[in-house]
């Protein structure tokens, strides 16, 4: 019945992949658990439903980085594939190293009730890139919302309001760096905050060093973040990290007409320039 598990079984039986990364039933009612299936006996665990919020592209980087020649199969929604595109673009993986089990998606939910904010305005209910596609059900129309509406709303606030807002939010940060750890594009082996010579970002928590970290995070993801929202989901203090990420995406889109995760051949906007880039702010 469950075609993902059948596909996984087949891939593993035929020895085509070293593992299948996917979702299984979680231990809590509104959560799914991510699993790395390595044998076909375990493949039946794999499921897909509207609680599969996680972006499994993370399992292609960091400690999961592939050392074997054999590819790994990953269950991916259309939005997750953008991260893979980014990783290919940034030479972290090669297309052949990942077998994408694309799933058609009608939106996912973090709490079992409400649609995840990242799902509004989704244009990728069917993944753009995949090796096999599952999910026969028809695409339901997801309500369209201007993805930048909250950014635009926020920009209307005064300078002081914005500052106070962020100071209140960032004060909560305990620097666990979970936002970094779950981000598929934060794949550095040694993050700038872990570098001690010199230490650009102090490791303690205070408004200023938290600000410094969050500026760094947002800036390093500018033009790269695909908006999967994992950072915000992982933040147990509910810091609105997506707001920063979206702002960066908007700036990059407005100024350089670039959207992350769509073209694996494109140059990243901050490693690039155009002669006619705007300079009205320069004296």
């Amino acid at each position: 019945m469950n075609s993902i598990s059948e596909i996984a079984k087949k891939l593993l039986d035929e020895n085509r992949v070293s593992a299948v990364v996917g979702y299984s039933i979680g231990s809590l009612p509104n959560k799914t658990k991510t699993v790395i299936v390595k044998s076909s006996q375990q493949a039946e665990k794999l499921i897909f439903n509207n609680l599969c919020v996680n972006n499994l592209a993370i399992y292609l980087t960091k400690s999961f980085r592939l050392t074997t020649q054999k590819p790994v199969a990953v269950v991916m929604k259309g939005c997750d594939v953008k991260s893979v595109t980014g990783l290919i673009q940034e030479k972290q993986i090669e297309r052949e190293q990942v077998f994408i089990i694309g799933v058609k998606c009608n939106g996912v939910s973090e709490d079992g009730k409400n649609l995840s904010p990242k799902c509004y305005s989704c244009k990728l209910q069917t993944p753009k890139m995949y090796d096999i596609l599952v999910g026969e059900e028809e695409e339901k129309n997801i309500e369209f919302k201007n993805p930048f509406s909250d950014v635009e709303e926020f920009e209307k606030k005064s300078l002081d309001e914005r500052w106070n807002f962020w100071m209140n939010e960032l004060e909560k940060c305990v620097k666990c760096y979970a936002c970094r750890q779950v981000c598929p594009l934060c794949y550095c082996e040694k993050c700038i905050v872990d570098k001690t010579v010199p230490r650009w970002i102090e490791p303690h928590t205070s408004k200023s060093s938290n600000l410094s970290w969050h500026i760094t995070r947002a800036f390093h993801l500018a033009g790269r973040c695909t908006g999967c929202g994992e950072c915000e989901r992982a933040c147990h203090h509910n810091i609105p990290l997506s707001l920063l990420n979206k702002k960066m995406a908007k700036v990059v889109y407005d100024n350089f007409n670039y959207q992350a995760g769509l073209d694996d051949k494109a140059k990243s906007p901050l490693a690039d320039f155009k002669f006619q880039d705007k300079e009205d702010f320069i004296r």
């Binding site: 980085r65 050392t67 940034e90 030479k91 972290q92 794949y187 550095c188 082996e189 040694k190 993050c191 700038i192 570098k195 010579v197 010199p198 650009w200 390093h220 140059k267 990243s268 901050l270 490693a271 690039d272 002669f275």
Partner: protein, 666 residues
């Protein structure tokens, strides 16, 4: 901890007038890790330098801060002094308390405080300075010249005469370039081939020049002093080591009616041909597209008649590797093609009818009509019916200086050659009338304006200031409609022939070529010099120089002058076994580099490459960035782009800058 010495200079009164140097010296002595601090009237003087040298020894200093003038002024002086005392020169920094402090401030209190701040910042920086060694790069003392036009020829000859070997690569079957196509040259009207041919022969016979014609650059690897070039020698189907250029094959070839590129399609050639009689090398090429054998599988007449068996139908492209230390790029120009339909960014000149009417030609075609070796043997006739044209209209700035067509620059040479054309035409067709539509006459150059005046005054060329709006045929005549803006009237001329002075553009495919070399180009694809004023010959890739019209429109003397300049640069480079460079280059922390290649993408100089890290079993662990020290110029763009700060710039490391910032406001 570090043992820093601070040396405060009064610079006579220059610093001392506004900065209280003795106070600065005393306060500097109390800074962390400063073990010695002293002031002196002129630190750059011999006794001043001696103070530094003595202090280094006496106090065992391992960092020096000289508070004096701009480092651009005396950094070298003090670093040299420091070396004499046995310290690494890069452990000496200058705090600029003159140009940036005493000279620009009036208030003594403020200036003194600021001077101390500047010193403190430098003390903190120098503590993090690392001893550096100048970078030495071995030099292969040979050069590559790309392009066999007059610029390439001149550069090659100058380098070869200077005693260094030259490899010359020309993509067409013969060297000579556009100059070989010209009839006479301005402003002296001497015969182009007469002055060029001897140089071409020289190139061929010079013991230091290795000539590859009908060849192209396949690949360029390496960096200044150490380029490895792969040359694609295209298939001639004629063995150039056997052929003696007797020409019997050409005589016997049955395929006759092929447009001659050299004659700008105004004449014909065979399927086996040399482009022009004086070609160097005088070795024919088979034009595969038009050869009967290649088309039908039968013929081989040339092979039958060649008594040296030089025809080789089975020949294939050959790849040759050459190592050189420097490269001169002299790929020249191409004329802006004026057909209406275009694939590039420019607009065509459909309204002028070029390509539709055979009597509307471009200036290079007119050169061939004028040339004694041209298709008409020097007789000026109309391509349509061979009639001698009695009225010729020359239109200048076709393409050039025309924003609407996408080209804003002035092609520079058109004013001069159009004047020349009117003269040469008049000399050949005495009753002919030459009209010139022009925008401005730009004739700056030795004897140039005199030349134009001569065309107008002696050879009666009629200059009309204005643009032509339309050209159309009425029976035998071409009606040229235009404006004479000086009298403010529309004019209409019934012409027999129209010559368009079209814009100059770089050779087609310059972009992939420039990318192969890793050099810059502008929006018209002209190759970019490293600095428009101070480095007009260099490119931003060290060891690659520019000559001739590949950089911008140029006339012959300019191209030749630049070629000689490039040659002198090459000779300068090749006069040493080794190159020395300041060690301000980027370096990679391989343990934290993750190989995202952002640095590689953003490096202007292509100095960053991929490097594979393998484990003891030989398995690939990861790919990291690798900086080629010979190529890196030390701008540090990569450092900013690296998110994990896995790349740093020697001399301006993150730690040094961090220390400066940290001590800036205390």
């Amino acid at each position: 901890m570090s043992r820093i010495g601070v040396f405060v200079c009064y610079c006579g009164e220059n610093i001392g007038r506004t900065v209280n140097c003795s106070e600065v010296t005393q306060r500097a002595a109390k800074l962390r890790d400063v073990v010695y601090s002293v002031d002196y009237k002129y630190m750059c003087s011999d006794p001043g330098q001696q103070i530094i040298k003595d202090a280094i020894k006496k106090y065992n200093l391992n960092g020096i801060v000289v508070a004096s003038c701009s480092p651009l002024m005396h950094e070298k002086t003090f670093r040299h002094a420091v070396v004499e005392a046995g310290l690494n020169p890069f452990l000496c920094e200058l705090a600029n308390i003159r140009e940036h402090c005493s000279w620009v401030h009036d208030d003594k209190r403020n200036a003194t405080d600021k001077a101390l701040d500047l010193i403190r910042m430098m003390v903190e920086k120098v503590k993090k300075n690392l001893p550096l060694d100048t970078i030495k790069i071995p030099v292969t003392r040979r050069a590559l010249v790309i392009g066999g036009g007059v610029a390439g020829i001149q550069a090659a000859l100058d380098i070869a005469d200077g005693g260094k070997e030259v490899v010359m690569v020309e993509k067409s079957p013969s060297i000579g370039g556009h100059m070989a196509q010209l009839s006479e040259t301005f402003p002296t009207l001497d015969c182009s081939q007469c002055i060029l041919t001897p140089k071409m022969v020289d190139v061929n016979s010079h013991k230091n020049i290795k000539l590859y014609t009908y060849s192209e650059i396949e690949n360029v690897k390496g960096y200044i002093g150490n380029f490895e070039i792969t040359i694609r020698k295209k298939t001639r189907y004629v063995d150039d080591s056997i052929c003696n250029g007797c020409g019997i094959c050409i005589e016997k070839c049955p395929q006759k009616k092929i447009n001659s590129e050299f004659n700008t399609n105004l004449g014909t050639r065979k399927a086996i041909y040399v482009p022009f009689p004086q070609a160097v090398p005088n070795i024919p090429v088979i034009d595969k597209e038009n050869c009967t054998y290649f088309k039908n599988g039968k013929c081989k007449v040339c092979e039958k008649f060649c008594d040296r068996n030089a025809i080789k139908f089975e020949q294939t492209d050959e790849f040759i590797k050459e190592n050189v230390g420097a490269i001169v790029v002299a790929t020249g120009f191409d004329l802006y093609s004026i057909e209406k339909e275009r694939s590039d960014n420019y607009q065509g000149y459909g309204e002028y009818g070029y390509g539709k009417d055979p009597d509307i030609i471009n200036s290079l075609q007119f050169e061939r009509l004028l040339s004694a070796s041209g298709p008409t043997l020097g007789e000026v006739t109309r391509p349509s019916d061979g009639k001698i044209p009695e009225t010729v209209v020359f239109i200048q700035c076709v393409g050039s200086r025309d924003k609407s067509k996408g080209i804003e620059f002035c092609s520079k040479i058109c004013c001069m050659y159009t004047a020349k054309h009117t003269m040469l035409y008049k000399h050949k067709v005495h009753n002919g009338k030459a009209f010139v539509f022009y925008m401005d006459i730009r004739a700056a150059g030795k004897n140039y304006d005199e030349f134009v005046r001569r065309a107008i005054e002696e050879d009666e060329a009629i200059y009309l200031r204005g643009r032509v709006s339309r050209i159309y045929r009425e029976k035998d005549k071409l009606i040229v409609k235009g404006a004479d803006t000086l009298i403010g009237k529309q004019v209409e001329i019934a012409a027999d022939l129209v010559v368009l002075a079209t814009a100059m553009l770089p050779q087609k495919d310059t972009v992939p070529f420039a990318q192969k070399l890793g050099i810059g180009y502008d929006k018209y694809h002209f190759l970019s010099e490293a600095h428009p004023k101070l480095k007009p010959i260099e490119t931003n890739t060290a060891g690659i120089f520019l000559a001739g019209a590949c950089q911008a429109p140029k006339d012959i003397p300019e191209a030749v002058a630049q070629a000689s300049a490039a040659a002198s640069k090459v000779l300068g480079l090749c006069s040493n076994d080794q190159l020395e460079r300041e060690p301000y280059v980027a370096y990679v922390n391989e343990s934290s580099c993750i190989g995202c290649e952002f640095c590689l993408q953003s490096c202007t100089y292509s100095a960053i490459e991929n490097k594979s890290i393998v484990n003891s079993k030989g398995e690939l662990v990861k790919k990291v960035a690798y900086v080629n020290k010979g190529v890196c110029q030390g701008c540090g763009t990569c450092v900013s782009i690296c998110r994990s700060k896995s790349i740093d710039l020697a001399g301006y490391t993150d730690e040094q800058i961090y220390s400066e910032i940290n001590s800036m406001f205390v």
